[in-house]
Amino acid sequence: MMSQGVGINAMDRLRLDSPDRRTAWKEEKERKLAKLKQLRAERENRRRKQLEKEAQEAAVRASSVPRDDQDLDKMLSSLGVAPVSEVLSSMSSMSSEPGGDHSGSPDKSLEANSTASPRTPSKKQPQLSVVSVQATNIPPRETVTYAKGVQTSGSGDGHVLTYDDPQAEEEDNSLTMLDTPPIYGGGHNRHLPPGILPTGMPTVQDVKPALATEAEKKVEEEKPQPPRELSDEEKQMLMMTEEFHSFFDRSTRILERALAEDANIFVDYSHDYEEDGEANESGGIKLSLNRWFYDERWSRNRCITCMDWSPQYPELLVASYNNNEDSPHDPDGVALVWNTKFKKDTPEYIFHCQSPVMSATFARFHPNLIIGGTYSGQIVLWDNRSQKRTPVQRSPLSASAHTHPVYCMKVVGTQNAHNLISVSTDGKMCSWSLDMLSQPQESMELQHKQSRAVAVTCMAFPHGDVNNFIVGSEEGAVFTACRHGSKAGIVDAYEGHQGPVTGISTHSTPGPIDFSHLFLTSSIDWTVKLWSVKETKPLYSFEDNGDYVYEVAWSPIHPALFTTVDGSGRIDLWNLNQDTEVPTASTVVEGSPALNRVSWTNSGQQITVGDDMGKIWIYDVGEQLALPRADDWARLVHTMGELKNNQADDDQSTRHYDSSFSSLTSLSSSPLR
């Protein structure tokens, strides 16, 4: 510091030149000597070694080059550097101090100074003051290296991303390079390739500073690109592809359900209280409309010919439709699969074929297959895994198969040994294997008595039976038949109806007492009759209807409950244990269409009804009515007994009427619709 101060002043002294200042200069000299002493005393401990070193060097230099001082001084002063002599002398003065030569050398040095610079007085004397030197000890910076070598992709240089930088934290982006590299390498590392250690310290520097920003830039550049438009042809081409269709089919199905399901999650129950009253009322109603299924395009103006439920997915219902007389260009036969679980009111699957479908059933052991029997006698098979709406398999139109409309079909058997049984109106019964519809496995003519073929309109298998079955015919007679065995063919005839039999339902309600010998038949003669397999005469006849009764169905859970539908739009629910004369519940479908088909859901709490305008109505049955009580089975036995007694009484009184009736029945032979 002393030397620095001297250095600056030397410049000034060189410029000014007046001998008058020598006295002042001598005073200064003494002052400086005192100060020197002070400084020395303070710094002796700290810098002695350093100064000694430098002093030694300086002394060497000073001894070697004393004469060139002035030249040197001039040169150096022109550069603005302190004259060497001054520096050296001040050093030497300090170093030689303990030696006691203090007086001599400072004088020398000061004299040298004075010769070089006697002009100082005009200039302000340097304010030499004790300045405490701040010895700052900067500890090595802790660099936390966070190696992201595994996770980074594409950069390839194994960059180490240092984590601690406040700048990086501010930007909240761990990928940005530090701008101030850690203390180890100093500021020069950025120019070195990565991996090369400048000072031998163990750090690896990330040299690519703007990786993240580059990536961001790339993303930004890409973003404006997508609105590169596809031309119309390209779009059309895309829309024709298989993947597009399968994607579209899946997504629209899900979306339609999502759209229809407008469950209002924001509903506030504390708000409107009147609405609760209405909900309670519907519990008491015996038969109430739940919903209907109708498709404008596919089911309009078509009569529903058959309905069946899926065994695997109880909410799926298949309905087959007749042809639409108003639109001859549409396919004649349609089968739609409806989903009762969701509020979506469009069919799950739409299938069609060229001939009106008279019956449809789910293949019991193949969840994806739907079988249809058509008016032309063909059996068609649809698969909902394929994207096609047309049948994937078809039976041939040959004499070995059916040549008449197939009204009845059923899959019987077990998982490993099952067959499709189909019967057409020419009395032919065929048994098919679902793998091969090109020809039936076996076929049989159902003939009654004098080799007269039976025109079968409906068929039913008793519960648990795969060999024996019951068929109803156009002539009004009901027959039991057998598939295999010695008695193959028609076994018994049950006469009773005066018109074609439209529907048969066998009792299949599981319970403590077995009623599987009972079956119901409905007919065009406005009546429904209850039979037992053991007797050829009906046990009872229900005559409440005023129109053709098109179908009858036992409840799957209640032993004494069944439903009928007729041509005037009426749905009747009969409970044998309550009343056998009149239906327990009855309702008329809106618009009074003729109701062609009825079926219970597996739960036994809903009825589905199909009409001749293409609509399927779903009605809820009130719980008191639908659910059986434990004593219903016993009561049914009692009821049957009563019916028998009444029948015996009636027989005696009506025997003489029979003869007149039979003459009428022979004339009537109303063709089935």
Binding site: K223, P226, F247, F248, T252, L259
Partner: protein
Amino acid sequence: MSAEVEETLKRIQSHKGVVGVIVVNAEGIPIKSTLDNPTTIQYTGLISGLTDKARSVVRDLDPTNDLTFLRVRSKKHEIMIAPDKEYMLIVVQNTNE
């Protein structure tokens, strides 16, 4: 076949409250839309990004999982997105509460 596509789109479009239907491909280019072009582009750009982010969330939480459906409900609309490997179906519906 495209007639069925048209028919289904028309059916969805005519559903109660539906504002628009857009079919987008994997690159974010709209294939079919019932909205006008600027709106379609806007929806497509924004929703593609959102779907990608949602998908990455699902997959990051569990790599064996994947996004199947996305529903964004706001005060005025509900956007339903059915993403797929190659395409995406977007339906915008009014929430009429």
